[in-house]
Subunit: 148 residues, 4 copies
């Protein structure tokens, strides 16, 4: 599992380095568990993740969970390709304020030939559920295997 | 409607000025229609809204639609208070690349005493549907009316 | 469009005749509009569609909308094959009681090679929204075309 | 827990006896675990629960899960009142055929003053996941407590 953890971390580094939408959020993200089809991380809530009430923004939770699910899918694939999100359904149950640490968990429910179903949660450190979510990703087309 | 447009724009300015999670996205957002329970806007896709494929990030679409729905709810309330997102369900149907402009539309389906149901879409300028979504917000408790 | 309406009606008759789960519901269903990718119907609420409060059952709305979306998908296909439901998201906004007539509408948002996205609503006759929903269906594999 | 199991079973009997929408499905349902906020059941797939492919109907899964979640909510309340479904989101991952037994599980994620969030799954006996779902119910208004 050392290699998998390493590879997922390298992928995260690339995402942060690209400086796209999720960079400011994902540079605050630390993987705490990386297994095939099961990834957990924690994120410290800084002001730049919050809404005007000082509570983590709903869009931020969506961004973390969508991204975490994408990493979780990648962890099951030989070729390290992201899937495309097809559906994301999130329930917002409680909030977290600046200074709190959020624990996010992703787990593959099922991967078919064409679709990956991933379940996701965000919790406080004490286990209070903040959000649960489910995401569906389209499995990218397989590259033809080399014949060498 | 001049006042409503003005008030919604002021609220957007506050959100951007707060420098929280949605600031970098919402400073790119321009309202194109503001009516009670019906708000439309456009957003130019810059690199900072995209994923590593150069396509607008799923979390970014979630952030725009969740935020737009929140503004749409506010536009129906005498007191300019945001509701709390309870559920956000998004389908990702197509993507938009750097340089494209996304048109986002929000419309109140129903507001009950406790919940607001809002439907949302994101489209390309040519009308191609990128995402549709529905959001449920918790109506904030009414402040007691002043007796003056 | 006469043929399409006719073919969709024949398919409904088969579904009712099969005597499976949706038969008791679908024998109450009348198509009022059948176009390619756009189907509307009405359903009279009888006691057998209701919960113990005498209000149309949430599972019944789900059954009608899931089924209507399936018909809507079929209406776009040369081969009259149903897709498999992948995701169904329903908001329950208001209820309808015994004796009321529900108007249900389905419209294709997009059909890709592998997935169909359909939006759905249920309303009272006066236009009051009861439910909105979105459904995703997996497009069934195409039968190879005959070479004759 | 004997009383709770008994009370939930009595409620199921009432639902079946009412002869509404879910009666034909729920008379096939057997509770296998009833705890406060955690209910499991099994359902044998008969033809009357299936679609024309002989696979359990998507609307049937929706009906079972919506109903099971409603029982799960009731199990946490002193007054045995159902909540109203606000949102139901279901992923359909695999199917079950006539003769198979489906295991359905429901668990309260959170109950606030106004809303109950319940997570739900349907599985085959061998643990294969058929569907996962989340449901939100509106908590019914509390009856004023008797002063006796």
């Amino acid at each position: 599992m050392v290699d998998l953890t390493n590879n997922i971390q390298l992928l995260l580094d690339q995402v942060v380095k690209y400086r796209g939408f999720s960079a400011d959020t994902f540079h605050l993200l630390k993987f705490t568990k990386v297994e095939k089809g099961l990834i957990e991380c924690e994120v410290k809530v800084e002001k730049e993740l919050t809404n005007t009430y000082g509570v983590v923004h709903g869009g931020c939770i969506a961004t973390i969970l969508d991204g975490l699910g994408a990493f979780c899918f990648v962890s099951t694939q030989d070729e390290f390709q992201f899937g495309f999100t097809v559906n994301l359904n999130i329930n917002y149950i409680a909030g977290a304020s600046i200074g709190e640490t959020i624990i996010c968990k992703s787990e593959v429910d099922k991967i078919t030939k064409s679709l990956a179903f991933i379940k996701l949660t965000a919790e406080r450190k004490d286990g209070t559920l903040l959000s649960n979510a489910s995401a569906i990703y389209k499995v990218p087309p397989q590259k033809p295997k080399s014949k060498l």
